[in-house]
């Protein structure tokens, strides 16, 4: 951890409000984007991301200085997102919410290309590279797989950072991530068969 980060954390521990504002400005977009890709809904993401920073403000005393502040924040964000995904799945099972992918409003932003205009499977796969289809595919993964894909392939974090965030050994991260990527590839292929 850098000296400036240590100083920032020390101010946070004293509940310095300006230091907290600095943290939100610095990491807000990153936390929001991670959570958004995990839950797929803007409204849920806003709510979870706010909750993440409230947790940071409350529990900064439990931050261990050997970790990086960014990875600690992303760990809190991923735990909140995973819990929300489980909660939403439970609610759907109990019939409180309409069934379907929890990609929600993100998927509604763009429409999938009409299949009648597309011919070979390779062209279809190219079309699958559009944002909404990819987001829907991510939403079908289990939350642990989703997290790994978002951290590595969307947020482009290093394996070292992912190990710190997830608490999993590097080998496990790599093998689970590979399985998640293969699942995604299969999902996209099946979608256009």
């Amino acid at each position: 951890m850098s000296l400036s980060e240590r100083l920032l954390v020390a101010r946070l521990v004293r509940r310095d409000e300006e230091a907290f504002n600095e943290v939100v400005r610095q990491y807000g977009d990153r936390v929001f984007n991670l959570v958004l890709r995990m839950v797929g809904s803007r409204a849920e993401a806003e709510d979870i991301a706010q909750e993440v920073f409230v947790t940071v403000f409350k529990s900064i005393d439990s931050f261990r200085s050997e970790a990086k502040l960014s990875t600690w924040l992303l760990r809190i964000a991923s735990n909140h997102a995973k819990n929300r995904i489980k909660y939403l799945a439970r609610r759907r099972e109990q019939g409180h919410e309409p069934s379907g992918s929890d990609s929600g409003d993100l998927a509604d932003e763009g429409k999938a290309p009409a299949q009648s205009h597309i011919h070979g499977p390779d062209v279809l796969l190219e079309a699958a590279e559009t944002e909404d289809i990819m987001q829907q595919a991510i939403a079908t993964l289990e939350e642990d797989q989703r997290l790994l894909v978002v951290l590595r392939d969307v947020e482009e974090l290093s394996y070292e950072e992912i190990v710190e965030i997830t608490g999993l050994p590097e080998g496990t991260v790599k093998s689970r991530l590979h399985r998640a990527r293969m699942t995604l590839k299969q999902l996209l292929e099946d979608k256009f068969k």
Binding site: N21, F57, D122, Q135, V149, D153, V154
Partner: protein, 126 residues
């Protein structure tokens, strides 16, 4: 090794191959298999495109009111102990109100000084 084993081994190594983490001899063996197996070559190309699609997902910024909303939450949950509103209006310092107050203060000062100035115009006594 059977053909099926060879396919499985190749597919299992896609991530490590694309991330440049395969040892040289395994990389050579995989590339040798790819050169002769169109099925695995196609599969690798689709795998690569899947990763490309993930990498191209756009970054979404937090909403404009994000910081103010969090401050409000903390203020409410701490029962007003943190992020008190007295300095903040809609989550920020009210510069327009401060400017207005400054202009009024300067105007009052100017009028007072003008009234008490010895060079000021005084009415002629009758």
């Amino acid at each position: 090794m059977s053909a099926a084993d060879s396919h499985t081994r190749t597919v299992d190594a896609f991530s490590a191959y694309l991330e440049g983490e395969l040892p040289p001899e395994e990389k050579a063996s995989l590339e040798h298999h790819l050169a002769t197996c169109i099925q695995c070559r196609t599969s690798l190309e689709r795998f690569r495109r899947t990763l490309g699609g993930l990498g191209r997902l756009k970054r979404t910024a937090a909403p404009y009111s994000f910081l103010a909303d969090i401050q409000q939450q903390i203020n409410r949950r701490s029962r007003g102990r943190f992020f008190r509103r007295r300095w903040l209006l809609f989550g920020r310092i009210p510069f327009e109100w401060l400017s207005l107050a400054m202009i009024v203060a300067m105007l009052v000062y100017y009028i007072v000084v003008l009234q008490s100035s010895p060079t000021g115009v005084k009415p002629i006594p009758p």
